[in-house]
Amino acid sequence: MLKISLSRLEELFAAIAEKQTLYIPSDRADGAAEFTKWEPGKALTQKLNTLRSAKDFFFPQTENIVDFKMEGKNIQVIDQRSEHEDFVIFGVRPCDARSFTILDKVFLSEPVDSFYKNRRDHGTVVTMACSRPAETCFCGTFGIDATEPEGDAACWSDGEDLFIKANNDKGQAFVDSISSLLEEGDTAKLDQVKAKTKEILSRLPLANLSTATFGGDTLNEHFNSEKWAELSESCLGCGTCTFVCPTCQCYDIKDFNTGNGIKRFRCWDSCMYSDFTKMAHGNPRTSQLERFRQRFMHKLVYFPANNNGEFGCVGCGRCLSKCPISMNIVKVMKALEVK
């Protein structure tokens, strides 16, 4: 497999950044990791994962859809869309890489969302395999192999060298563009690292979390379970779990009057917010129990029902560590699990 020494990473990034904008996960002032534009001297983070997922690159938190100019009775629709620049996201973890395929199922299905497609076509995802999974990781439950990441091109690190392999033609184009820096290398040491990681993955506390009792056809079984009351009683109804989640796709469309025109923009929305389904004549989900149930039923039952069995969660563990009251999908799955 092609490889480059880890000491020449800076050189590799410089080569990539020449042709396309490069984003890498690097440490912020407060210690958390975040995807930022690469500049010379910006180091790759040692943290397992970034605080905000890479979803932002394809489905940003706010995005202008269209502008309007109102003149008397007439409306002028101004389409602001422009071709997005090419960019590379380096160091995406396998769980985040899988979340892109889940978002694709939503946004690239008919009728295609042109905003998302515009960014998705111009973005090259270069993934990085995990070697030190955290206790909150449970990507194995959803069939993700943390040592064999998906994405356009995949990278592994065995401590000395960075191995790189293309998974599809976009990945191949990326590898070709930096092939001058790469050289062939044997993967003996890398296979040891992979084996060790696989061994750790099997020892993770959530390794044997199973999705057996969930899936597209288990709707009635779970919808009226009386456990929802107990699970949702201390939920604050904030949007943290949905806004840090890499696979949440719900959005809201709002208008903003700038004083000299109207901007219609799209922004993330959370099913946990009280006004998510609020209509002029009522709201089908008035209690926090219904909203809480909707979030987890969507990921564990509705999404698989509409996407032939693929779950809406990738097991990245962000909601486990960021929920103010530590309620999350793992506790819901364990509570609803039918032994």
Binding site: S234, L236, C238, G239, T240, F243, D252, F265, C267, P324
Partner: protein
């Protein structure tokens, strides 16, 4: 301590003087504790937990729970009792439907500080005389207890329970803490430095509203930010102005009512030091209108709903502070 609390709670449950107990429930790991309502002795034995990670301030749940039929027992740390007093003063809770057992505060741990040290794969955290023994998938790690303390506990303002019906352990007293040091440090910066500091912090905000939904002082039936024609985007980070406006107005609405319990900074997923905004208001109120601690009692008038004829003029802000 945990056994004493469970024993006492079971006694009160069985003799019928309380119907429900608000406490904390064990999670998957050592540190993911969830506030919970217990209704039976078995539940208490099975799940109730009280240890170094039970730092959540549960007084806000009393707004709902105290309106239900039957008394509710709640365990409150000293800083939580200030929040309950403030809620009582504003008639948001039915105080005589609540039975409060004061429990010792004691500094609580912040798992983010442990993880920030690069410790990962945490399986268990044991505290033996102030050094943490952390068992992880990658071997045993140790860390001084003092380095993993929550920010709000590091600048603890009082170990005194200001309201309780019963006490487990003794009552402490008000401490003079260094909680305004960081505020002073910021005040002495130049305006540009302050602007850059806050722009960098507030630009991280993802508008998840966790700070508002956890704050015991933020209990409006319908928040102004949820009102579409308030003109503020309540879920979009669509402009730097929106972030500034949201945090200024939220801090303003709790000015004079915020008990400085530190929950907003604890729950912020982006680690923004939101407590500094509230402490700035507290520091200003103390210096301009006389020492005031929200929640210290349930009768005094909040500073912003009060006035004296010889309050200072607003131009005082223009005279002080470096440019």
């Amino acid at each position: 301590m945990q056994e004493a609390m469970i024993k006492r709670a079971k006694e009160l449950l069985t003799d019928g003087s309380v119907k429900r107990v608000i406490g904390w429930k064990r999670g998957e790991f050592a540190y993911d504790i969830t506030p919970a309502v217990f209704e039976s002795a078995e539940e208490l034995d099975k799940d109730f937990v009280f240890d170094d990670f039970t730092s959540a301030n549960v007084s806000k749940y009393l707004v709902k729970e105290s309106k239900k039929e039957g008394k509710v027992l709640v365990f409150l740390k000293p800083c939580d009792t200030y929040s309950l007093n403030q809620l009582t003063k504003e008639h948001r809770v039915d105080r005589d439907n609540i039975y409060v057992i004061g429990i010792p505060g004691g500094p609580k741990l912040d798992i983010e500080k442990i993880k920030a040290k690069g410790i990962t794969g945490i399986l268990s955290v044991k505290n033996d005389n102030y050094t943490l023994k952390i068992e992880t998938l990658y071997g045993e790690e140790t860390m001084p207890f003092s380095e993993a303390i929550l920010d709000k506990c590091a600048s603890c303002k009082s170990k005194k329970h200001v309201t309780y019906d019963e006490l487990i352990g003794e009552d402490g007293d008000v401490l003079d803490s260094d909680r305004f040091d960081m505020v002073e440090k910021l005040e002495n910066m130049t305006a540009q430095e302050r602007y850059d500091f806050w722009r960098e912090q507030l630009s991280k905000c993802i508008r998840c509203n966790a700070c508002r939904n956890v704050c015991p002082a933020c209990t409006c039936e319908k928040c102004v930010f949820d009102n579409p024609n308030s003109g503020v985007e309540n879920k979009a980070a669509s402009d730097s102005f929106e972030e500034n406006m949201f945090h200024i107005i939220r801090a303003f609405h709790v000015a004079g009512r915020c008990t400085d319990c530190g929950e907003c900074s604890r729950v912020c997923p982006q680690n923004i030091p939101l407590h500094l905004l509230n402490r700035k208001f507290i520091k200003d109120i103390n210096s301009l209108y006389g020492e005031y601690q929200a929640g210290a009692d349930t009768t005094s008038r909040a500073p912003l709903t009060d006035y004296t004829a010889d309050d200072c003029e607003a131009s005082i802000v223009h005279e002080r502070g470096a440019e």
